[in-house]
């Protein structure tokens, strides 16, 4: 699988995650979201940005709890719940949001 982003071919694995994490761009993120019929809003971008920053530091996506805590600190406790994250990313904040953020898919019993 592959997508065309600004004239450049970006390779995806069979589950739709970026093969080369350095291929990520905002346009690529929106194109991946298009595949799930999702329009990325500011609320989505807040999560995606946090995921990318966390990944930069730790080479892994944050635990759902770490994510909800960070969102809660930033946007208020009503948004610091996994329910809010699932509303934004119906296929799960860990997997779907990671895909849009250009991170590898979390593996294991999750």
């Amino acid at each position: 699988m592959a997508i065309e982003v600004n004239g450049k071919t970006v390779e995806l694995d069979e589950e739709g995650y970026l093969v080369n994490l350095s291929d990520w761009s905002k346009e690529a993120a929106q194109m991946l979201a298009d595949q799930d019929n999702l329009k990325l809003t500011d609320s989505h971008w807040e999560v995606i940005t946090f995921l990318r920053d966390y990944y930069d530091e730790y080479q892994i996506a944050p635990a759902v709890r770490v994510l909800t805590k960070a969102i809660s600190k930033k946007l208020g406790p009503d948004k610091g719940s996994s329910k809010y994250l699932y509303e934004l990313f119906p296929y799960g904040p860990a997997k779907q949001a990671c895909r849009f953020a250009g991170l590898p898919k979390p593996t294991g019993c999750v």
Partner: protein
């Protein structure tokens, strides 16, 4: 959430009955195949070898010599039919190849063709078949539609264990270069990073620090989540999902509170930061052993006296049934305690000795049932009494909650139904199978919801918890109906 699937979600039936057959309903290419980079670190060929047929038969012969049980299972089926309607995947998919006997026959037909006299001379008379590419494709597809839960073996008068046949089949396929991506990628991560998730030490430390903050904020008490502390009493080995997913992490908080109140020093290990052992799912003794050895090394390096396992089904099977031969002897541990010990057993013992203060009313808003995880229920035990693996987790729940109700008798204890995601099938490319395979459990859950107003189902397995979180919504239930057993303890404990 329950949208965007191209298949029909099975309807919950008021009375479970044997479903009508739908031949080839689940015929497909099977789950994603492992790439060479995922195969070679495990000692398997990168891709399907040229002489795969010859190699597969050779490997089968080797396994038959090594495991007498395998030969007994392949020889002894009398086609009585007792197993046919016992598999959750058959019930949910109606595909006759998901009948346990049919699943066994996929390997049996080849065994007969190449290893028995009648199969060599008159193959058609004895249902023997050449190992063709078509047969191999069926192996790959249908041996990845078995969660190795062993429910069928409970009903088999000969005790034929389909799980063991399915493990052997996967081992043969791995050895000819046809591995499953989900399992093999994960095992590689254990070797490289230390756990299934690929969670590096700094991220683990950060997560644990965050949990200390949370519990402090919540309770005002300094409950520690120690990492790599030498010379403590207990090494806790738990599935890495406990550091990452929900409701798993609430269970981890529960373990920490129990250790805190009991005053028993403990630590997690960043080297052995995984209880799970996917080596078992792929039937690979070598990989299972390599993964287990990490636990031994961590216990020695950290100079602990006891090893306790967190809530993980197949980890407990490997730990309880095989750890001593895989990674023993454990003569350096304190002989006063079982090696290893299950966290439920550990907590139960403290409850018996009145060493924990539990306020059951803290869970009064919940009406709870318990899902027996297959590997704990049918492949291990817990504590010192027969059936301890059923009694102890329930006793821990009942000590933490006032309202507890069991699901129907033919869906619990040793007759429990798999969650639908066990045995290395908890992957999105098998989502149809996972949803359909959850049907019998969902029906049993519906029963206690309707009759007893049950609000939550507790479990002691990371796979079960993740699988239910994912599939509950497809059946019209909220995803947070599934909870960790130690999450209930965590709520009830008065620090």
């Amino acid at each position: 959430m329950a949208s965007n699937v191209e298949f029909k979600i099975p309807a919950l039936r008021p009375y479970p009955e044997i479903p009508a057959l739908q031949p080839d309903a689940m015929q497909s290419k099977g789950p994603f195949v492992a790439k060479p980079v995922m195969q070679t670190p495990l000692g398997f060929p990168g891709e399907l070898v040229e002489n795969w047929q010859e190699k597969a038969i050779e490997k089968m012969g080797e396994l038959l010599k090594k495991y007498r049980s395998l030969q007994v299972y392949l020889d002894s089926c009398v086609k009585c039919g007792a197993c046919t309607d016992k598999c959750h995947y058959f019930i949910g998919t109606q595909d006759p190849k998901n009948m346990p006997v049919a699943r066994q026959d996929l390997l049996r037909q080849v065994y007969r063709r190449y290893m028995t006299l009648s199969g060599k001379v008159v193959p058609k008379w004895v249902g023997a078949k050449d190992l063709t590419r078509e047969v191999l494709d069926d192996w790959y597809n249908y041996y990845h539609q078995c969660s190795q839960c062993r429910r069928c073996s409970v009903f088999c008068p000969y005790g034929i264990d389909t799980a063991e046949i399915s493990m052997a089949a996967r081992e043969i396929m791995d050895c000819i270069g046809l591995g499953q991506k989900y399992c093999n990628e994960i095992i590689g991560k254990v070797y490289k990073i230390g756990n299934n998730l690929g969670l590096p030490e700094p991220a683990l430390a950060d997560t644990l620090n965050g949990l200390e903050e949370d519990v402090k904020l919540d309770t005002g008490v300094d409950v520690k989540f120690p990492l790599d502390q030498e010379g403590v009493e207990v090494l806790l080995v738990t599935p890495s999902a406990d550091f990452f997913a929900e409701p798993h992490i609430d269970g981890l908080i529960g373990y920490a509170k129990v250790f805190h109140q009991a005053g028993i020093s403990w630590t997690l290990s960043s080297y052995a930061s995984e209880a799970g052992n996917f080596g078992m799912f792929i039937g690979s003794y070598d990989n299972m052993r390599r993964i287990s050895q990490r636990i031994r090394k961590a216990a020695l390096d950290l100079k602990v006296k006891r090893i306790v396992f967190g809530e993980c089904g197949h980890a407990w099977r490997v730990a309880y049934s095989f750890l001593n031969t895989l990674a023993g002897p454990f003569d350096f541990l304190d002989p006063k305690y079982p090696v290893p010990q299950h966290i439920c057993e550990f907590t139960y013992d403290l409850i018996q000795r009145k060493a924990l203060r539990l306020d059951k009313t803290a869970n009064d808003q919940r009406r709870v049932t318990f899902h027996d995880s297959c590997n704990v229920a049918r492949a291990s035990r817990m504590g010192t009494i027969p059936g301890g693996q059923f009694i102890i987790p329930r006793a821990v729940i009942k000590a933490s909650c006032n309202h507890y109700y069991d699901m129907p008798a033919d869906t619990i204890h040793d007759q429990t139904f798999c969650c639908g995601g066990g045995g290395g099938l908890l992957t999105d490319d098998l989502i149809e199978l996972r949803i359909k395979g959850a049907l019998p459990r969902m029906e049993a859950l519906k029963y206690v919801i309707d009759h007893h107003g049950v609000t939550h189902m507790a479990a002691i397995c990371a796979i079960c918890k993740s699988q239910f979180t994912k599939v509950l919504p497809y059946y019209g239930f909220e995803m947070d109906k599934i909870v960790s057993v130690h999450q209930l303890v965590s709520n009830a404990i008065v620090l």
